[in-house]
């Protein structure tokens, strides 16, 4: 059965259609990571294209086995995002549609309130940059701890630590936000 490694090797040997398989495999995750970070679907679309084009152009530099391909790809996505923010005259934040969220079974309803996208977006914006990156990679990009660690150049322990601190801080920010009755959507 063909695997991710096979498609990478085929692309590196000059078969561009193999890269199409890698695109299909990672497009959703990369887009979700970028839309989480930019909160703008159109910008995320453009940056997704840029990420995959750069990945294709540089795939000969990727060394199989040194780091997971996903980590390498998300590192490119992160760099594309930084370039985008640098180029932008200001960092724009577009509100996500206010949409009721998710309870996950009785325990969730019992333990906590349900948050809207806007509340979450506001809460995440209060986190440190590293915490935001970890949250975006882990929960939007669906990266494993190992992929996240490689993508950010940190140890797995550091990522677990940042993940825990980010969620705890987010919880605190959202609690304070609700205490003051704020409904931040921008």
């Amino acid at each position: 059965m063909e695997s991710e490694t096979t498609w990478i090797e085929q692309t590196q040997r000059g078969n561009p259609s193999a890269f199409g398989r890698l695109y299909e495999m990672y497009a959703e995750r990369v887009y979700r990571y970028l839309v989480f970070r930019t909160q703008d679907a159109h910008v995320a679309e453009d940056l997704s294209a840029e990420t995959f084009i750069k990945a294709f152009q540089n795939i000969r530099r990727y060394r199989i086995g040194r780091a997971p391909f996903g980590a390498w790809l998300f590192r490119i996505a992160h760099n594309v995002l930084i370039d985008h923010w640098r180029a932008a005259t200001r960092r724009q934040t577009v509100a996500w549609e206010d949409m009721a969220l998710v309870a996950n079974g009785a325990a969730a309803r019992d333990i906590a309130q349900v948050f809207t996208r806007a509340e979450l977006a506001w809460g995440v914006a209060q986190l440190t940059d590293l915490q935001q990156q970890v949250i975006a990679l882990r929960f939007s990009g669906e990266c494993s701890i190992a992929e996240t660690a490689q993508a950010l150049g940190r140890s797995e322990e550091a990522i677990k630590d940042a993940q825990h601190k980010a969620l705890a801080a987010l919880r605190k920010h959202l609690a304070v936000g609700n205490l003051h009755g704020s409904k931040q959507t921008e």
Partner: protein
């Protein structure tokens, strides 16, 4: 075990398909603290929208264009170029509803069936049994798409879709020429070259003047792609 490791263990269990209730039942002492964090984590996972299929198709299209431009620059084999071209053409047709052929022939730019008309003409060209006739049909279709883009630009209703169709039609012409290099006579090749030059100039203009930002961005990508048409045409004309 400290909370950060417990948290990761719980996230792993959720990923493996356990429900939140099941996961929390394993850690009664930390149920409340872990529960709050896990609810947030699952909220975050579900808060990010999925990638819409048209967006995926558009990124795929841009990627194919860049891949082809990149690999052509490296001098890849002709059959590989052809494969990418076919993929590119397919994406155009699929992304824009190429299956709809009914009532397609008489529609104009801006009308409901405009993409279907382009696909209809493209299908006619593909079904032509004689390579020479197919090349002429591809050429006429590509010329029509250029006219469509010009008309829409003048009316101020231009977005990226007709630009994709225009370049897709010319790409199909190039595929037909590459597959049947002896089927086109000199007059047809000169018409194709003139069309390619006109289209490239139009794309150059659209990079600056297209009314929608995304259309300008796509025109830029497609302008780079169009560079690859000329070596083929010059090679055929030199024979």
């Amino acid at each position: 075990m400290d909370t950060k490791h417990l948290l990761q263990e719980c996230l792993d269990r959720l990923e493996r398909g356990e429900t939140l209730d099941q996961v929390l039942a394993r850690y009664p002492a930390q149920r409340e603290e872990l529960g709050r964090l896990l609810v947030l984590a699952t909220s975050l996972q579900r808060a990010t929208p999925k990638m819409p299929e048209p967006a995926k198709a558009r990124v795929r299209y841009e990627l194919h264009g860049a891949m082809r431009a990149h690999t052509l620059g490296r001098g890849i084999a002709g059959w590989q170029t052809w494969l990418v071209r076919v993929a590119l053409a397919l994406v155009v047709v699929l992304a824009l509803g190429g299956g709809t052929l009914v009532a397609a022939a008489e529609t104009a730019p801006g009308k409901t069936f405009f993409p279907a008309r382009a696909a209809f003409n493209e299908t006619r060209a593909r079904l032509a049994t004689e390579p020479e006739a197919a090349i002429v049909l591809h050429l006429e279709n590509a010329q029509d798409r250029v006219d469509d883009v010009r008309a829409l630009k003048e009316r101020g209703g231009l977005n990226e879709a007709p630009i994709f169709l225009m370049v897709g039609a010319t790409e199909n012409l190039m595929v037909a020429l590459e597959n049947n290099p002896r089927a086109a006579n000199r007059a047809t090749l000169e018409r194709a070259q003139s069309l390619a030059q006109t289209e490239r100039a139009l794309l150059q203009d659209l990079k600056q003047t297209a009314p929608v930002e995304r259309a300008r961005h796509n025109a830029d990508t497609l302008y780079q792609l169009s560079e690859s048409w000329f070596p083929l045409l010059e090679r055929l004309l030199a024979r």
